[in-house]
Each structure stands twice: as C-alpha cells, then as structure tokens.
Symmetry: C2
C-alpha cells in the first residue's frame, strides 16, 4: 500500500482529527481530500455498521452551490429528474450527463431555496461542467464550493443517536428529505440519506469549525450505543448495489447502463435526453449487474477492474468486489454485455491470481 | 503518512511497473492517478536531477482533446494567450480562468492541427469546463480524454539520452515546440518542456502499451548517463518558481496574482478578460512571491499551507516550502498581500512547530 504525502492540494477535512484519533488504517483520495477506507478491517467495520451506529467523515462529498435567478433553469438542463416536482425539503439522487448521455457524476441535489441548490458530488469536478454551461450561456447564477462538509451517521441505531443530539424531530425526517435543525449558534441541513443500506442521516456541516464539536458530541452521547467513527464500507455498499462513480460507472456509461433509468423522467429538454430516451426505449447494450464470484475469502483486492469473459470473448468488467461475511460469498458489481447479463449466466473473471467462475444474479443482496 | 488503497477510480499509469520497480517511497494522487513524490529522498532525487537525467511518469498530466470545426473558436474563448499567433508546432503554457478571472487550471496547450488541440492539464477536471462551454453554446467539437500519457525526460543529460533513442533531431526541438518522431510502429509528439528548470522533454505517449517498451529503452540507453526513474521534485520546482495548481494557486486567484500576466495577451474576448485586464492595469492586491524562511533543515512538511503574518495581521500564505541543499536555506512560494510583498520585507510564518521569520525575495533562485 503506497503512502500518500499530504499537501495543500490534497486537503484534509474538518473532521480529520477524529479520523486520525480513531485510527483509520487506509485511505483513498476523493475530490482531492483524504477519505478513510477502513478502520479495524473491512469486515470488522462492516459487522459493526450493521449492528450499531457509525459516524462517517464524508466531507469529500463536496457541495456545489448554484444560486441566483437562473438556478432552476440550469438545474432543469443538467437534471434527468423532473426539477419542477421537487419538494422544498427534498434531495434528488441524479445522474448528470453530457450531450451524449455519458455520465459526468451522480450527485445528490438538495433544494435549499427556490433559487438555490446544492449538488453533493461524487468524485470529480462537476463544478466545472455546471460553470461552463452557465458561463457559456450567460446564466445569472453564482456557482461555487461553499464551506459545507457532510458528516454521515449510519447504522440501525442512527435514529436514536441523532435524536439524542438534535431531538426527536429527526425521527420525522423522511427518506431523502431534510430539515434544518439547530446546533450551537447555527443550524444544519440534516437529510435522511447516506451511502449505506443501514439507514441514517447526513448532516451538512456548514462551517468547518463546527466539525469537531459536532463529532465529539455524537461520540459522547452515543457511547452506550457503541458508536464508532467509520467510513463507507466496501462490502456493505456492494451488497446493497450502491455504485461508485469512477469505478463502476464512468463517462462512457449512460444512466440506463448504470441501471438508473428510473431517475430519468424529466419532461424538460435536459442535456443527454435524446440518447437516454433512445436507450430507455431500445434497451442498452450492457448494464450493471450483481455477480457472485466463486471461491472463498481469498480473492485479491480489486485494484483496477477485472475482465469478464465468456470463453474467449470479453463480455464485461467487474470494478468492485469483496468477500461478504453475511452472505458467505464474493459479492461483486459488474458492467455486463446484453448477450450475457441474464441471471444465472456463468462467466469467467480474470484477476492477478488467475481465472475463476462467476454467476450473474437477479438482484443485489440487500 | 497515510496508506492509499488502489481502486479503478484511482488509476495506475502505463508506467506503473517502472515506478514500482524503481522503489517510489511516497505518492500523491493527481487527476485520480498515483504520482510518485520521491524515490530515494527529496534531496537525493534533487541532486541527481540537477546532475544527470531522470525519466518521470507524468501520465497524471492527462490530455483533453478538443477536435472539430469549432476547436479554435473554443480555444480563443478559454485562452488568455493569442491563439491566432500559435505556430503549428507550438505548446502554450496558459492559465484558464472563469468569468471572474479565477484560475480553473494551468494547462499546456498543444496545437496538433488547425482544428485539433490538446490541453495537458494540472490537477482538476478541466474537461468538464471545456465541455460545459462547448455543449452550452452548441459548438461543433469533440471533447474527450485520449489514451495519451506523458513521460518526461529531465536533467542536463536529457538531450543526450533522447538523441540516443529518437536521433539527433531532438536537439533541434526548440523550447515549448514539438516534433512528431517515430517509435516502434507509431510516432509520438515530443516537446521540449517539463516541470523542472533542468531542461528536457515531454514525450506524449499515445497508446498505453508503448509505455513500458519506451521506459525500458530509455533506461537501457542511458545506463552510462546514470539515468534514473524520478518524479517532479518539490525542492527544485520551488527554487525555479514552478507553481502547483491547487496548492500555490486556486480558483480564488487570478493569473495576475499568480504572476502570469505575461501569458494574458489575447486580443480576443476570452473568458475572464475584463477582470484580468483590470488587474493588469491597476495591479493585483496580492501576488505570488518567493520567500526565504529562517532556520536550518528542520521545518515540518508543509501539509496544508502556513499563514504569513506581520504582527497580528494575516498578510499571506505559504503553500510550498522545502530545504534547499544548494542554496542552504528554506525556499518557499507564498501568496503575499500588496502591503507586504516588497523584497526584503520581514514576516512571520506559522507552522505546527511554532513561529519563525521569513523574508520576501526579489526573485526565485533559478
């Protein structure tokens, strides 16, 4: 595992002291920030996440603020989802695509006000896409990256922990909705969302100096809940079919290939619509599929994607894979050609240990 | 130093086997790729670079290809340099700015043909800016990231080594000009450029599979020149005043603040021109300056920028600093307010070891 040299360019987060104190053992770099990959181990973190509650430094999910008279007009252009039906407290997971339907990012859009949206982004400078569109067309909007750093509270005990800090009102927050709730001398957007299937919240911490006080009070109030500092977990997110932009899906994939057609329903002439509608009608030529890889807990770490073949023919790629202790199998996410994507199809996986078998599944595990 | 977990998202380069075999001891992540920070040590690498010749994996300098009937029209919009005076074999270092003159990147533009340019980018998805402008205005251009990975050959013996592999014709390549020269069954754009002041070339390796054969032949032919695999060197680039986008300069800086006014001479109505021209006329409020920090070779690594103060007043920030063995001082690059930027001004530097003195210099060291 290569060591990484910190610099002003590869930034820390407002929660870094908590992450270091909790003993993160490995990191990735995401939006030019350090993001922990695991603490005790992928498996120990996973078991804990499914049973208790974790606090995740997901400040790497940077916000793009789009504000001004033309904010909605710009959102209608970039969003395959119907912006005009977005409630005032709603969050939209959405693929953002180029003119050919190629995915540029898959942010969560948050409606702050009628003329103000945040995009909580995956890895990539989506700000530059939005800015280019706005400047190129002379739109009247301000686009910048505010000092907002999400902290996620995830796991079955998340409601209880959040209620202890923000009050029982958090229990009323619906899925992908938010409330603005007070903390110290400020208030935070708090949404029921997060990159796990265990339930929980994302707190959009506006003002980096609130990061440590908030983290510390969550740790303190959650002691008897066995709260821990954690991070998005590779195994759990594969089981749940949560896609990683840059790994599972890229600009050479459409949202239809990514299995995200249900989020492409806007009546507006959004960018990429023509190709997306064509693929929705005719079906894509390849698509994201869950796969089970043969063997025990002895596969190498998936460093750069593994080819999927059917005999001598390449029919796909697995970008994410891990041993699942709960399902006692190797869970994986692959992009598989139409010819071989039917559930039950047997394929070969090529990794640095050699070749092994895999089976296309009907659905993800959780 | 945190360990980094590889994934498909944080990519390797076509030269990774060479980098690993040469024993890179630390990395950074740049454009979602691993970039070595040093091999033996910053100082040993530095001494070698100034005396011999090094081969650098700078595949992280991804190319944005802009091709089509509207390519020049788009380049005129994004470039503060006069695109109409660019020779057919020329490379332009250029700041690329938003509508307020804020720097979005500082690529090297390469004119491949009248209707085809590459932008060899610093860290950041400048592709999305260019794509947003093009799509927003309906320009007839294709914008993508081709399979091109630069390999730099840097150091005083670079001409000799390159001549042994590509022929004496490389000696005729002028500064920031290129020739297309044959290699195996293909040809590469080879420019006299690179992120050091020791002279040398950048080979734009088109086709990842040529990476290892090229690296190996350079190593083989350069054995008696004491060639080594290396990487951009922190000390040497600070001595030479080579700026790191994301560390020394960011979107909240104009090219005038970055000391790059001489590259802002386009007669066209490029994006950001109004503010840049205003700052060129009136002078900026702060600007990049070389600084010498007091003390011996005992400063901590500069992890996130150090505040510069004059008494109780913050007057700047040092994002890059290192001990220079040749100049026997701590060399640094800072952004300093106009009130305190004059050569000889004494300031205080705040780092995790405490406070020490620094002096603003007239010019960089080399």
């Amino acid at each position: 595992m290569a060591g990484i040299v910190p610099s002003r360019r590869v930034r820390g987060t407002p929660f870094l002291a908590l992450v270091e104190a909790a003993g993160a053992k490995a990191f990735t770099v995401y939006n030019r920030m350090l993001l922990a990959s695991y603490y005790e181990s992928y498996e120990a973190d996973y078991k804990h996440l499914k049973e208790h509650v974790q606090i995740w430094d997901v400040a790497v999910q940077r916000q793009i603020s789009i504000k001004g008279p033309d904010a909605l007009r710009l959102m209608r252009q970039i969003s395959p989802r119907d912006m005009d039906r977005m409630a005032e407290d709603q969050c939209y997971y959405m693929p953002v695509c180029d003119h050919n339907g190629g995915m540029l990012n898959d942010p969560v859009a948050i409606k702050i006000a009628e003329d103000h949206y945040w995009l909580s982004i995956a890895d990539g400078d989506l700000l530059q896409w939005v800015l280019g569109l706005a400047v190129g067309q002379g739109f009247d909007v301000e686009i910048d990256e505010p000092d907002v750093s999400p902290l996620a509270v995830q796991g079955p005990k998340a409601d209880e922990l959040m209620a202890r800090v923000f009050g029982d009102i958090v229990r009323d927050i619906k899925f992908f909705r938010y409330k603005q709730l007070p903390f110290m001398d400020t208030k935070f957007v708090i949404a029921r969302s997060g990159w796990s299937k265990q339930g929980g919240f994302e707190i959009y911490v506006e003002g980096g100096h609130y990061g440590l006080p908030l983290g510390n009070i969550l740790l303190e109030r959650g002691r008897d809940l066995n709260v821990r500092i954690g991070c998005p977990n590779l195994i759990e997110r594969i089981e749940g079919g949560l896609l990683s932009y840059g790994s599972d899906i890229r600009r050479d994939n459409s949202p239809v290939e990514a299995g995200l057609s249900r989020f492409c329903n806007s009546p507006a002439e959004y960018i990429g619509k023509k190709e997306i509608e064509r693929q929705k009608l005719n079906g894509p030529n390849r698509q994201i599929r869950p796969l089970e890889i043969d063997g025990a807990d002895d596969l190498p770490h998936n460093e750069s994607g593994w080819d999927l073949t059917a005999g001598s023919r390449k029919v796909g790629l697995i970008a994410s894979s891990a041993w699942s202790p709960d399902f006692e199998t190797n869970v994986a996410i692959g992009m598989v050609d139409k010819s071989h994507w039917h559930p039950g199809t047997r394929l070969e996986v090529h990794n640095k240990h050699g070749i092994c078998g895999a089976t296309v599944r009907e659905s993800f595990w959780i």
